[in-house]
Amino acid sequence: MSRTTLDLWVGVFVAMGIAALLFLALKVGSISGSEIQSPYTLRANFDNIGGLKLRAPVKSSGVVVGRVEQIRYDNERFQAEVVFTVDGRYKFPTDTFANILTSGLLGEQYLGLDPGGEEKTLAPGEVIKKTQSAVVLEKLISQFMFGKAEGDSAPAK
């Protein structure tokens, strides 16, 4: 069987298609598996996780260092337990502070890590003890109104 011009056109077509797929994979999307290398898991307990979702980013100083893997309710402590993975290249001190923060006013919620000053670093599977819950807007508003009412009444006395 000899090669024909038809084969050439099919070859061009298949090469174009594969190039388009590669373009979509590399230029348009980012291959998510590669950005977090050799991850290890950590845990943190929160009184209230607000609107934190699975696969939400874990950030430290604004840089994505991991992802939230699991969220469950701990019936012993009556708290939410968040399990998340952190890139193996990054180590955090044992007194790291975990917060649930919001990017922008209406943005998605993420887990923020504020490193402390300890020498020892967190081992895989360890629990972060210092945590701060998500800010619930309703609570904030009620606190503000309550505080304001007190503030108004104070000078009247």
Binding site: M1, L6, D7, W9, V10, V12, F13, V14, M16, G17, I18, A20, L21, F23, L24, A25, K27, V28, G29, S30, I31, S32, G33, K53, L54, R55
Partner: protein, 260 residues
């Protein structure tokens, strides 16, 4: 009154009968595929007819869809002062839905109808029977290469459609309107996930390719061997492929994209 129920019943029984036949047909194609792949040039020839010859319509329509998405996206996003999100909007809508679905619809009307007409005409002129008499299986020789030609070209065409669409969106957004080049690509890259968006789109286009190719070869093989029968079979190919693509798209979307 009774006539209506009789008609309904006949339609339902015919539908079930057709479904059974199409399933058995798919099984036969898969069984005979090995035999047909020993003559690979047959499949490559079909790849040329359904893939390469559909390239022009796919590329041009992809470009126009992207241009329209760019204009409409800009018009809405600029109300909220977030025109940088245009790349995300164009890329996600093309990768997840428009790429596979519109490319599938175009492919069904461009290549699917041609396949049905070809096989139908072979049946009318009794070429399929002649092959059978010469102990050449028409499924291995005629049907399987056309089926695989469609199945292979569809994901490639959908990827090319999405690529052209993103290029069109870039043309409108960055070149003509002046959205920041870096923000356009950067926001797109941070929002588009390879597995969640790109791969799910590829799975969709593959499923649509199987559906369109199977319907096209089946309608051709099953047509009434008259001039009118062939024309009806072609119409049925386009209509049922379009319905199959849209229904499959709904089912696959509800499984794939449920916001976790």
């Amino acid at each position: 009154m009774g006539g209506v129920f009789r008609k309904l019943g006949r339609m339902a029984i015919n539908g079930v009968w057709q479904l059974g036949f199409i399933t058995r047909f798919l099984w036969l194609i898969l069984v005979y595929s090995g035999q047909s792949f020993t003559r690979l040039h047959l499949t490559i020839r079909e790849l040329y007819f359904s893939g390469v010859l559909s390239l022009l319509i796919i590329l041009v329509s992809g470009l126009f869809v992207g241009l329209v998405l760019g204009l409409q996206g800009y018009e809405i996003l600029q109300r909220y002062g977030s025109t940088e999100a245009m790349g995300t909007l164009v890329a996600l809508s093309l990768l997840r839905e428009l790429g596979p679905v519109v490319a599938g619809l175009l492919f069904a009307s461009r290549a699917g109808s041609a396949v049905t007409a070809e096989i139908g005409l072979m049946k009318v002129t009794e070429q399929l029977k002649a092959m059978d008499m010469m102990a050449v299986s028409p499924i291995a020789r005629v049907v399987a290469p056309r089926f695989w030609g469609g199945v292979i070209s569809m994901p490639l065409l959908a990827a090319l459609f999405s690529t052209m669409g993103i290029f069109g969106g870039w043309l409108i957004g960055v070149v003509f309107i002046g959205v920041d080049h870096g923000a356009f690509w950067g926001q797109m890259q941070s929002a588009v996930d390879f597995q969640y968006d790109v791969l799910n789109g590829v799975y969709k286009s593959f499923a649509f390719g199987v559906a369109v190719a199977l319907i096209a070869v089946f309608e051709g093989y099953d047509c009434v061997p008259t001039a009118e029968g062939v024309s009806r079979a072609i119409t049925r190919t386009v209509v049922s492929s379009a319905l199959a693509i849209l229904a499959l798209d709904f089912v696959m979307t509800s499984f794939m994209f449920r916001g976790l």
